[in-house]
Symmetry: C2
Subunit: 269 residues, 2 copies
């Protein structure tokens, strides 16, 4: 790739600045009891002022510092998405968690070069947890302490702790996908739900072993890839191809290649 | 009842001391990656050193300060449960969350008088969140700041944010209960899962509107009752009777009496 390590370090520092800026917009609105609106009419798709204002300030910062970069954002769409460098933004991933007062929502920031994510940040302001992934490493920061992230090393599916945002064929999964997930969950040790991107961040900390989803969007999955890979995990679609190469934007994140292969087997039926 | 307000205040301070003592045992073991054991053999029922050591130290404190009180604990069973005053202890409710690194596990402490809970504490050490319920009020404390808890005031089921720990007929619900929950979820605005007691604590903060479960145990539900009621919510079984009066230990917690009645209607079919 045609960029230096120094360039990447600068972008990583800038990405943390974007996360800091989002915190100012998101955190005061969390649990305030009044910030929910509904952009989709009858069907439920919450979006908060936090999401909109967070992305607005982030886009202003990028336009000022890197006007030649493209942007893809959840709230305000794409600006110059054909550029080599492209930021992918979602100030509040997990809006349903946000509106229920659960601190598993996160700010997602990814920087892509020629359509591949090369660095990302996952930030949880209420718990003060931040994952920063760049140069093939993922760092976890909380309260000033830094830790290098490593996945759990679990290879046996019968001991796997598994997550998906919703196991029902209602929100993300279609019927077939829900059945495939249920097969994996049956093989594993336990399943926990409703965590969105935060589940992948916990996988990077060695706390989950498998995260399996479908129906995500670009701004949902871009930041997950460097964080999972930088901790030694594997993340692909359900057939081992890059995330985003199928119509359903399937994700299969695993602590180890062995566990990834085993889960792919069970997902396949 | 034959006890004074002062007595209740003393017990509440002591209950907070029990929560503090549990923190010392639980928090250092959270996300340490090695503390999980399995007490149930093949089926999954994790219990951590945190749970055992937390309860051990709490029982010692009670035996020393209130030797005439009974104790019911998750890990070490019942001591003198026939006494008028009885502590109900669960140092780590949400052990599955605990072993997945999710900060929705909680320490539950209830004090019962003649079998009715008169005060309780729900404590989340990682996020430093504590709910203290006594004398018909629920207080939320975080980082030194105190807030009086009030439920959301939602009365219309179509706007209700709903939670249960697992919607599948696998862990807590039987088939019929899972179908009844699914009916309520279909009427509501959104559902989030896997939160255990923490969901009731969020309901007390006005963040959830309905929490619906079955298959709980005494140490799972005792602490929920003062916290929900002290915030203005309603908590009963699925037929409006006191929690614990049916074989399945059903819970139906609602922000308002109107919403409680509406949910009971839908649960009934």
């Amino acid at each position: 790739m045609s960029f230096s390590e120094q360039e990447l370090r600068d972008y990583a520092a800038f990405a943390e600045g974007l996360a800091d800026a989002a915190r100012i917009e998101t955190l005061p609105r969390f649990r305030d009891g009044v910030s929910v609106s509904n952009k989709a009419g009858a069907s439920f798709d919450p979006v908060t002022d936090a999401d909109r204002e967070g992305e607005r300030v982030q886009r202003e910062m990028i336009a000022k510092t890197y006007p030649e970069h493209g942007i893809i954002g959840e709230e305000f769409g794409a600006s110059n998405p054909e550029r080599s460098w492209r930021w992918v933004l979602d100030p509040v991933d997990g809006t349903r968690a946000f509106v229920c007062g659960i601190a598993s929502w996160a700010t997602l920031i990814a920087l892509e070069y020629d359509q591949k994510p090369v660095l990302s940040v996952i930030d949880q302001p209420f718990t003060d947890e931040r994952w920063i992934a760049t140069g093939g490493k993922t760092i976890f920061r909380r309260g000033g302490a830094l830790t290098a992230c490593t996945t759990s090393g679990v290879t046996d599916i019968s001991t796997a702790r598994i997550s998906t945002s919703d196991p029902r064929p209602l929100a993300y999964f279609n019927d077939q996908e829900a059945a495939a997930f249920a097969r994996v969950a049956e093989h594993g040790r336990l399943a926990r739900f409703s965590l969105d991107a935060y589940a992948y961040a916990l996988l990077a900390l060695g706390e989950f072993d498998l995260v399996i989803e479908a129906g995500l969007q670009h701004h949902d999955y871009a930041a997950l890839i460097p964080v999972v890979e930088g901790a030694g995990g594997v993340i692909t679609n359900w057939r081992g191809e890059p995330v985003g190469s199928d119509d359903r934007n399937e994700t299969l994140a695993a602590a180890t290649p062995e566990l990834h292969a085993a889960a792919m087997d069970v997902l396949g039926g």
